[in-house]
Subunit: 254 residues, 2 copies
């Protein structure tokens, strides 16, 4: 038995998230279909993160334990042959059987893209949230700074969040604007259910004057979901990178 | 009677080009549907260019003569309300009745995007040509320089090209690479049927060693379509800008 770790990118529009679900198509199910074609067996796979319906991934990691002896790079080509074009395997490496794509993630980076214009961008329909308005970037940046560091993010967690410890550490948050396209980037050691989308929704409330930038510490302190902003829609969210303890390009490459 | 000129962007994937066709959905037909909703009459419209099935436009210009008195900026909002999300009106202005969006175009710029990687990019499926291989950029650049200036481009025109004068002037051609994404940009005073896509297909033949960079002048001179490369697929092509004699932002703004 060995474990292969696949680096994957996917456009999430057609999928009900990564995790296998009843009566809904998931990335995991489609990936397992391809694995079954290549490996001759429907091997179990483990993803690095639960992503929601319509959320995208620039980089996603999938572990697959198998007895098959196919070289990792050959598995990349073979899987891409069977996968639909909205899921691409970028790379693969052999990792120890003890490696876990989710538990061993040290940090993750998410991007959230917002198209800030009264006029839609026909090329970003599924790949950004169309916000219709311009934003108050300095106010949003001031608010975002309060989210940096270690905080209890219970107020930034949707109902259905079942973890006990809601403390997370945010190492980097940036907001950059390129014309009407605003990109929010956040790197942290972990994220609660809907956390990034609630952070973005809250920053948009700040832009709209519904929340003052310096109210963020009090909202964090309250632990009250209702004091934060709306959950921003899925189509703007990208899992951009997962950081493991690296050896070479992919984590734990032998 | 007055004429409104609309600046439009559209993702061409769902459309059989701009021009109205029998039994196939066109951008013009969908635009006229919206015009009919807003103006209460199915006014005639004139586009700046015939674009093929699946070709995109970052900027496209549509003239519409009407007796309706709606202010130009208000027409933008109203049309966007009725248009599908893959067609967006960016701006509008009143222009003289004598203005013609196609005949009065002095130059056009096209972009052609190529994804040069054995692995597909799930986010560029419909917005770039997936070429599968890396390219010989210096060879392509050397070949492209021979296309600059005034030439008879008969060898770069598909069957079905019905113009008599096949001489055109190319003012700017650049090839730029950003990771695996190669962008070909060309600005000229006019383009023959499929001309940009044949230019790109020819440059890819140069990259593959099937045509030498310095063979381009002889191919141009031959006027023989069969000596040039293949017609590159539609999904990589964007009409990027049309240049008119400008007054203010939009051409001929009163």
């Amino acid at each position: 038995m060995r474990q292969l770790l696949f680096q994957v990118a996917y456009a999430g529009t057609a999928y009900h998230g990564f995790q296998v679900q009843k009566n809904a198509l998931s990335v995991a199910e489609v990936f397992q279909d391809a694995v079954e074609q290549v490996f001759g067996r429907r091997e179990d796979i483990v993803g690095c993160s639960r992503t929601d319906t319509g959320v995208h991934a620039n980089r996603y990691y999938i572990g697959c334990k198998t007895d098959h002896t196919i070289p990792a790079k050959q598995a990349v080509r073979a899987l891409n042959f069977y996968l639909p074009q909205d899921i691409a395997v970028l790379d693969a490496a052999e990792v120890p059987l003890s490696f876990h794509p989710r538990y061993h993630a040290q940090k993750k980076r998410y991007l959230y893209r917002i198209w800030c214009s009264p006029v839609q961008n026909p090329f970003l329909l599924r790949y950004a949230y169309w916000y219709h308005h311009s934003v108050d970037l300095p106010a949003m940046q001031r608010a975002a700074e309060h989210m940096l560091g270690t905080h209890d993010f219970a107020a930034f967690c949707s109902a259905g969040c079942d973890v006990k410890d809601t403390v997370r550490r945010m190492d980097e948050i940036t907001l950059t604007q390129d014309g009407a396209l605003l990109t929010f980037s956040v790197t942290g050691n972990g994220f609660l259910y809907h956390m990034v989308r609630i952070m973005v929704g809250t920053l948009l409330f700040v832009s709209e004057g519904k929340i003052a930038p310096d109210e963020i510490p009090a909202i964090l302190h309250s632990g009250n979901r209702r004091r934060a902003g709306k959950t921003a829609p899925a189509e703007g969210l990208f899992l951009d990178e997962v950081f493991y303890q690296e050896k070479g390009g992919l984590p734990y490459v032998k």
